[in-house]
């Protein structure tokens, strides 16, 4: 996709799966814009319709074979309406698709992370949610299969760094309930790396859309690592709320140091570690 939005536009919350699957066919020709008077709320509604129509087209034909006409037809609006909402045409729509899908992913992630009662739950929930959405995304799947160069560019080197930064900035505040903001940024970045790696190259042993597998990943590799980040003091530490998930995970890690005890007294900034 031609451009990528690091600054995410706020989009209306999507219906469960969005109107883009077979159960919710887009009805053609009922909510078009014959007068083309384009009131702002109507533009907003059209915006979502057009973006969702474009997603359907992408999932079937990819970017190279999707035209503005295809998108307009599927959205049930006129070509003129499409250009009124997106004066930049196809490229602008594609860019809006990226922004919208990122915002949808983040908003779903936010719900999962916000509802978590423990750090372990937050990590497992976030990893499962993100992995499921990324791997179950029809348009993304088509592009990875048929136009990999459209997707891979966002996942390599500097672009990958930007994606890590964007995702971890969003996730970190949710994790800061259990650790310092700086630690939360590192952990959020780490979780993003894990999701990306197993999404780009799926592993038969470690399917992170499976909550049991994701729990294993979090308990085996992540919680001890987070505990070690604390001990290493990647940042001046501030007071944290308890770390119940780590205490739970100790069952599987009898050899680790006891963070369950640590949580009663965390070293403060300036204190020797």
């Amino acid at each position: 996709m031609p451009t990528r939005g690091t600054a995410l536009r706020v989009v209306p919350a999507p219906v469960a799966d969005g109107p883009r699957d077979a159960r919710h066919p887009v009805t053609v020709g009922t909510t078009g814009d014959p007068d083309g008077n384009g009131a702002p709320d109507r533009n907003g509604r059209h915006r979502v319709r057009i973006v969702d129509a474009c997603l359907v087209c992408l999932a079937r034909h990819g970017t190279s074979k999707t035209t503005v006409d295809d998108i307009a037809r599927r959205a049930g609006v006129s070509r003129a309406t499409v250009y009124r909402v997106f004066p930049g045409g196809r490229d602008e729509i594609l860019s809006a698709v990226v922004d919208t899908e990122m915002a949808r992913l983040f908003s779903a992630l936010g719900v999962r992370l916000g509802a978590a009662g423990t750090l372990g739950e937050a990590l497992v929930g976030g990893i499962v949610e993100a992995s499921t959405r990324v791997l179950g995304h029809p348009a993304l799947a088509y592009l990875v299969e048929h136009e990999p160069e459209m997707v891979l560019g966002h996942l390599a080197f500097d672009e990958s760094d930007r994606l890590l930064t964007t995702a971890s900035r969003f996730v970190a505040p949710f994790l800061a309930r259990w650790m310092t903001p700086t630690e939360a940024e590192r952990v959020a970045e780490w979780a993003t790396r894990i999701v990306l790696s197993y999404a780009i190259s799926p592993s038969s042993r470690m399917d992170l859309t499976d909550p049991a597998r994701a729990t294993r990943m979090v308990e085996t590799f992540m919680l001890p690592g987070i505990r070690a980040l604390h001990v290493a003091g990647v940042a001046p530490t501030i007071d944290i709320t308890p770390f119940p998930a780590v205490a739970d995970a100790r069952q599987t890690h009898p050899s680790g140091s006891n963070l369950g005890a640590d949580r009663h007294r965390r070293p403060h900034a300036g204190e020797a570690t």
Binding site: L152, D161, S197, T220, F221, L223, G225, I226, L229
Partner: protein
Amino acid sequence: MVDDTRQRIVVATYACVARRGLAKTTVEDAAKEASLSRATVYRTFPGGRDELLEAVVAWATQDFFARLYEQVQGADNLEEVMERGIMFAHRSIVRHEVLQRVMQTEPEKLLPALTVESNRVRRGIADFLVPFIEQRGVAVGVDLKEAADFLARMVLSYISAPGRWDLDDPVQVARLVRSELLAGVVAGPAAAGPAR
């Protein structure tokens, strides 16, 4: 003999790519650079240009691994292997002029090959790490192969996109290795790192 010809063509192609990029490198250029006929190049690489470019990426990767292996020779423990390996790998990628130039100018041509290659690289790193992890001992409940694959994935992720970590700083690399990489994998306390 066949291998010599193959090698000669691949090295010649790499030189062409270094000079003028992927898009402008043709089979003719490679043949000329190698002082061989076009027919010979096609006999060695029946798939033509695409097969040739894949071979170049594979060759560059092998070369990278050979040097990586040299770097970690004599390391005392798993921590040191990972520290040295990560610092070397990151440096090589950042300072790899040809890789960086092609990534800047024609990423769409390189990325598919690089992605295929990265799966091979991942398995290579995992296989490479297994004996060191075994020697060190895994934590209770950790599967050796799963752990090696996890470490390989993470190493690839960090060396290509360091994010918030400064991989030129030995102290930070030591922390990274002992927290996000090895804390859940190995048994017992980590080997001491460089002084802070």
